[in-house]
């Protein structure tokens, strides 16, 4: 049972990472060779609980981070080529299953961190990436699962199970915006790094496009609603921009064999 798949783009190579209930697989970008397999350690997990890996992100031009159902985040050190991939660190700040991990997609302001991790309880951790990862701050949960997260120019965009999107300042952990975006569980968030467009997809069958910005005078983070699409009778499970400007996006849904692509008229 495969839960997630993600392209991890590093300066030297692109790897395809797959997570499942058994472990983590990493493939060369054409899918031809499996370069690494990591089996999940059952002993780390309490008995009679689901074991899986979830949340994938490439970070710091050198690492691939993958979350687990125990709350651990595994940090893999990736060589420029070959199969000599090792676990360089295990981050243990989350007590609940990891839901999503995001690396900074733009230019982080000082102290803003390079990586965000989110869990089932709704807690978020902000990290700086390096030989040793350092925890910069925690954003506490408010009672709802944080299902997806993105990081851009020091802004954490978090989607929650109650349909809310929240924007936080990565450096301080302060809440800067609260959007009642969806009527159901948010499954997917994506961000177009060149324009700051944010895409959200949820079980309510809606996909929304938002515009993020920074007010140069007040330094406030602002967000506006840009566009909405209703994918009739479909629980949206995936939503991704197809280009870095966010001019078009693709949507997948539960029990749907098609990928819908939306673009400018």
């Amino acid at each position: 049972l495969s839960l997630q798949a993600a392209w991890c783009i590093l300066p030297s190579r692109v790897l395809l990472v797959l997570t499942s209930q058994k472990g983590i697989q990493m493939y060369e970008s054409d899918g031809s060779i499996m370069v690494y397999w990591h089996a999940l350690d059952i002993a780390e997990h309490p008995p009679a609980q689901a074991v899986f890996a979830r949340g994938i992100a490439a970070a710091g031009g050198r690492f691939i981070c993958v979350g687990t159902s125990s709350g651990q985040v595994l940090v893999f050190d990736i060589p420029p080529k070959g199969t000599n991939i090792t676990v360089s660190e295990v981050l243990e700040q989350h007590r609940d299953a990891i839901t999503d991990i995001a690396a900074e997609l733009g230019q982080a302001p000082d102290g803003a961190g390079d990586l965000v991790t989110a869990d089932d309880a709704g807690a978020l951790c902000v990290w700086s990436v390096g030989e040793e990862f350092a925890l910069l701050g925690k954003i506490p949960a408010f009672g709802c699962t944080c299902s997806s997260v993105k990081l851009w120019h020091g802004v954490v965009a978090a989607g929650y199970g109650n349909g809310q999107i929240r924007l936080y300042e990565a450096a301080t952990g302060l809440l800067r915006a609260e959007i009642n975006a969806h009527a159901r569980w948010i499954y997917a968030l994506d961000l177009a790094p060149q324009t700051g467009k944010l895409l959200s997809g949820a079980e309510d069958s809606f996909v929304h496009v938002w515009q993020l910005s920074r007010n140069p005078d007040t330094d406030d983070i602002e967000i506006e609603h840009s566009h909405a699409e209703c994918v009739t009778d479909t629980q949206v499970c995936g939503a991704r921009f197809c280009d870095p400007e966010g001019n078009s996006f693709a949507v997948t849904g539960y029990d749907l064999s098609e990928i819908f692509r939306y673009g400018p008229a």
């Binding site: 299953a97 839901t99 199970g161 302060l174 915006a177 309510d204 406030d220 967000i223 009778d233 629980q235």
Partner: protein, 237 residues
């Protein structure tokens, strides 16, 4: 139940739900009661309404709030969509007994529904797709029992005091019948016609007499099968 599931987080429940959804993926079996209630569309996909109450703990979509670095709200904007959601009235009870508010988990068959006498145009398409689940109508058994009683072939044990399961209703639902009874104008005469469809001893005697008259005058003492009787009958002509 409470011990195992009571302490699960929302994320864990969502994982259970996702696992169940993966199990049912690609099964497009149409269920007649789902189709009738318009919960399922004719291609097998379930209808997701974009109106109605949002779940408890979810806000109606539309509001954007912006905060400054001091945590003060500095701006409020709204956006609109095609959806027409409303706030839920109250949270459902988690006690052993209580008002659940939602209909999830209740019996779909317990709601009275009008009987459809026509098939929708897509009936032909149904046959060629995945097989249709034919759930037995609980009234069907009662109807057959009633027919059997009329023919005199079935002894039905009446439960103490109550009616046995079958009563005629000339309206489409029980509610309509009650409503009609309440709104019936006073001046119309109230005639109740009692139709006795059960076996009366008097009628039984009448039927037996007729049956007796139909009997063959000289019954064959030995009958070795239907073929013999028929031949004998033909000989007698």
């Amino acid at each position: 139940l409470f011990q195992t599931y009571g302490c699960l987080s929302a994320g864990e429940f969502q994982f259970i739900r996702q696992t169940l959804l993966v199990f049912f993926q690609d099964m497009h079996i149409r269920v007649s009661i789902f189709l009738k209630d318009k919960v399922q569309s004719s291609n097998g996909r379930f209808v997701l309404p974009i109106s109605g109450p949002v779940p408890w703990g979810t806000e109606v979509p539309g509001l954007i709030r912006i905060f400054n670095h001091n945590g003060d709200e500095v701006k409020r904007t709204e956006f609109t969509t095609d959806g027409n959601y409303v706030t839920p009235q109250r949270e459902g009870s988690f006690d052993l007994y209580g008002d659940r508010v939602l209909k999830l988990g209740t019996n779909m068959y317990s709601v009275s529904r009008p009987v459809e006498t026509h098939m929708s145009g897509s009936a032909k398409n149904l046959a060629s797709h995945a097989k249709e689940n034919i759930t037995p109508n609980p009234l069907a058994k009662e109807e057959l029992n009633f027919l059997a009683r009329l023919l005199g072939g079935l002894e039905v044990k009446k439960p103490g005091g109550g009616e046995t399961g079958f009563r005629l209703n000339l309206f489409t639902t029980d509610e309509e019948e009650e409503h009609a009874a309440l709104t019936r104008p006073e001046e119309l005469s109230y005639k109740v016609i009692n139709i006795e469809a059960t076996q009366e001893p008097g009628r039984q005697a009448e039927l037996s007499r007729i049956l007796g008259e139909l009997e063959v005058a000289e019954p064959r003492p030995t009958s070795s099968g239907k073929g013999e009787d028929l031949l004998a009958l033909m000989d007698g002509l």
